[in-house]
C-alpha cells in the first residue's frame, strides 16, 4: 500500500518518517491496523531485530496478525483497543532497558499517544521513530468541553461529548496527542458547512 503524503503544514503538526532498524538491546514496536505493514518492512530489512522485539498490535479489524506472528518476535501481544493496551504499555515502558528502541507505526492517534507514554517514561525522543500508515483520521480535542473524539475523518465534525460542530485545526498538542477543534458556527449560529473528507 502506498504511503499518504501529508501536505506541508504549521510547526506544531508532527511529521512522520520511515522506520529503520537501529542497534539496541531491545526493541519495542507499537502499531495499529496498517501500521503492521511498516513493521513487516522493518523486519524485511533486518531479520535479527525480531529476536529482541516486543510487538504490541491493535488490529482494528485488519488481518495482519498471522503475518506479524510469523516474524517470531520475542514477545507478541494483541490488544482490542489502544485503551485496553495502555496499562501493559506503561508497564513495559517503566521496565524498559536503557537503550531500548521504540518504533511506532499506524494512525496519528496511536503514535501520538504511545509517544507521550514513552517520553513520560523517560525514553529520549532520539530513540523513538514513527511511521504513518493507513487511515489519515485525526484524534481531536474539543477546545470548549475538552472531550476527545477519536478517528475524525471529516471537517467540520460533531464533538462526541458536547455536540458542538467543530472546525478541524492543524494546531496540535503533543501532550494531549490531539488536534484542536473549535466551534465552526460560533459567529453565525446554525450555519454549519457540509462536512468534507480530510485532505480531499
Amino acid at each position: 500500500m502506498s504511503k499518504f503524503q501529508f501536505p506541508e503544514s504549521i510547526k506544531s503538526r508532527p511529521v512522520y518518517g520511515t522506520l529503520e532498524p537501529r542497534p539496541g538491546k531491545s526493541h519495542l514496536m507499537i502499531a495499529d491496523a496498517e501500521g503492521a505493514e511498516a513493521l513487516l518492512d522493518l523486519a524485511a530489512q533486518d531479520a535479527d531485530l525480531m529476536a529482541k522485539a516486543h510487538i504490541i498490535f491493535i488490529p482494528k479489524g485488519t488481518a495482519y496478525s498471522d503475518k506479524l506472528q510469523a516474524l517470531n518476535p520475542a514477545q507478541y501481544y494483541e490488544g482490542p483497543s489502544y485503551e485496553a493496551s495502555v496499562q501493559r504499555l506503561r508497564h513495559v515502558l517503566a521496565n524498559a532497558h536503557q537503550g531500548t528502541q521504540v518504533y511506532l507505526a499506524g494512525t496519528e492517534g496511536l503514535m501520538g499517544q504511545a509517544q507521550n507514554e514513552a517520553m513520560q517514561a523517560g525514553i529520549p525522543h532520539t530513540a523513538i521513530q514513527t511511521e504513518h500508515r493507513g487511515s489519515v483520521a485525526r484524534r481531536m480535542q474539543c477546545v470548549h468541553c475538552k472531550g476527545i473524539t477519536e478517528d475524525v475523518m471529516h471537517d467540520p465534525f460533531q464533538c462526541a461529548h458536547c455536540g458542538l460542530h467543530l472546525f478541524v485545526r492543524d494546531h496540535y498538542s503533543r501532550r494531549l496527542a490531539a488536534y484542536q477543534g473549535v466551534r465552526v458556527d460560533a459567529e453565525d449560529h446554525g450555519n454549519i458547512p457540509e462536512p468534507v473528507e480530510l485532505y480531499k
Binding site: 504549521i10 510547526k11 506544531s12 503538526r13 480535542q141 477546545v143 470548549h144 475538552k146 458542538l164 485545526r169 492543524d170 494546531h171 498538542s173 503533543r174 501532550r175 494531549l176 484542536q180 473549535v182 466551534r183 460560533a186 459567529e187 453565525d188 449560529h189
Partner: protein, 355 residues
C-alpha cells in the same frame, strides 16, 4: 498620584471605562502609519513619567476589577492556571519579582517585609495581609505562581529554558487573545507560535528566540502586540469562543465607536534568578474607538493601519469581516494630514482634525 480604582465589569453589562488619564497613557502600538510583524523588542528600563512603561509592573485604575474578573474565570475553569511539576521554583522566583517590584514602585499600595524566610505581604487595594514562609508552599493558599498572579494584572507565561529552547511549562492565562494555555502547555517556542501567519517565513521567530535566550537577570525587555475585540471582554479565550464569537456580529455603524476596542498587549520578558526560567507577562489594555480618536494623531493613524493591513493579519486577528465597517467609522477621523513619528499622542503639537 494615588489611583482611583474603577468598579467595573468586563462581561455582561460591560461597564469597563477608561478615564482621561487612562486614555492619555494608553499604549498605542503604532509608531508609523502602517504595520507589519517585526522583531520589535527593546529594553524594559522605565519610560516617560506616568506612562505604562515607567514601572516594572504597571498598576492602573482597572486593577481591582481585573482581579475580580480573573477570580471568576478561574472559578469557572481552573485549567487556566497550570504549572508542570518542575516549575514550582520558577513560581517562587516570580512571586519574589512581583512583590519586590510592586512594593518598591508603589510603596503606598504594596508592602513587603522580609525577615529571613518569613515574609509579610500587604496588598492594600485587594485588602490582603499575609505572612508566609518563602519557598514553603504549605504556607500559602495557592501555589506561588497562582497566589501572586491572582494579584497582578495581565497574563503570565513561565518558560523553562533547556536545550537552547523555551518551553511553555507554566502559566496564568485569563485575558488572552484567543489561545489556550491548556492546549499549548508543554509546547516549545515554535510550536505555540505555529498558528501565526507570515512571521515564520519572515524569520521573525528564529531571531526573537535568539534574543530571548540571551536575556539576563536585571535586564528585562519588552514589546507590544495588538488585536481587536468587540466589547471590553478580557476573557477572549478559545475555551469560551462558542459563547463570545457571536458578539462580533453585533457591531453597527451606530454602536461601533463604543463597542469596538483596540486591544494592546504590553509584553515584557524577565529572567528569573533561581530557576533560570523566563517569565513573560502579557498585560492587556483596552480602548474603545471613540476614546482613541480623541487623540487626533491616533485617529488618523489607526485608520491608515487598519486600511492597509495585509488580509492574512486581519484574518488571523479575527476582524476581516468587520474591517469595512471599521474603516467607514475611522475614515471620519482621517483628514490626510501627516502624523508625527513615534507612539505618543503629541497632543500639544499635532493639529486638530481638519474636517
Amino acid at each position: 498620584m494615588t489611583i482611583q480604582f474603577n468598579n467595573e465589569t468586563f462581561r455582561d453589562d460591560y461597564s469597563f471605562h477608561n478615564s482621561d488619564w487612562a486614555i492619555k497613557r494608553f499604549p498605542f502600538p503604532f509608531h508609523e502609519d502602517s504595520y507589519m510583524y517585526s522583531v520589535n523588542m527593546e529594553q524594559h528600563r522605565g519610560g516617560p513619567e506616568g506612562s505604562v512603561y515607567e514601572k516594572r509592573f504597571d498598576v492602573d485604575e482597572h486593577y481591582v476589577s481585573e482581579m475580580r474578573d480573573r477570580a471568576m474565570v478561574l472559578a469557572d475553569d481552573p485549567l487556566r492556571c497550570q504549572s508542570l511539576p518542575h516549575m514550582t521554583l520558577a513560581g517562587w522566583d516570580l512571586l519574589e519579582l512581583i512583590m519586590v517590584s510592586k512594593s518598591e514602585d508603589y510603596p503606598d499600595l504594596f508592602e513587603l517585609h522580609r525577615d529571613g524566610n518569613t515574609w509579610r505581604w500587604i496588598n492594600k487595594p485587594l485588602g490582603i495581609d499575609d505572612t508566609f514562609t518563602f519557598l514553603d508552599e504549605t504556607t500559602l493558599p495557592y501555589g506561588p505562581m497562582e497566589y501572586i498572579t491572582r494579584q497582578a494584572q495581565g497574563d503570565f507565561c513561565v518558560l523553562d529554558q533547556r536545550d537552547e529552547m523555551l518551553w511553555m511549562d507554566a502559566g496564568m492565562v485569563t485575558t488572552q487573545a484567543d489561545w489556550s494555555l491548556d492546549f499549548d502547555i508543554g509546547m516549545n517556542f515554535f510550536e505555540w507560535h505555529a498558528p501565526v501567519p507570515l512571521a515564520h517565513e519572515m524569520g521573525i521567530f528564529k531571531r526573537a528566540l535568539k534574543f530571548l535566550l540571551n536575556i539576563q537577570q536585571g535586564a528585562p525587555a519588552r514589546r507590544l502586540n495588538w488585536t481587536m475585540t468587540v466589547n471590553p471582554l478580557l476573557d477572549t479565550s478559545p475555551e469560551n469562543y462558542h459563547k463570545w464569537g457571536i458578539q462580533k456580529t453585533t457591531l453597527t455603524p451606530e454602536n461601533i465607536g463604543s463597542k469596538q476596542h483596540l486591544r494592546v498587549e504590553l509584553q515584557t520578558f524577565f529572567r528569573l534568578p533561581r530557576s533560570n526560567a523566563l517569565v513573560f507577562p502579557i498585560r492587556c489594555y483596552l480602548i474603545s474607538f471613540q476614546d482613541l480618536v480623541t487623540m487626533p494623531k491616533w485617529g488618523r493613524r489607526l485608520h491608515r493601519v487598519v486600511r492597509d493591513l495585509p488580509d492574512e493579519l486581519a484574518t488571523y486577528k479575527g476582524f476581516i469581516d468587520n474591517r469595512p465597517m471599521m474603516l467607514d467609522y475611522l475614515s471620519q477621523f482621517d483628514d490626510g494630514l501627516p502624523t508625527s513619528p513615534g507612539v505618543f499622542p503629541d497632543q500639544d503639537t499635532e493639529p486638530a482634525l481638519q474636517k
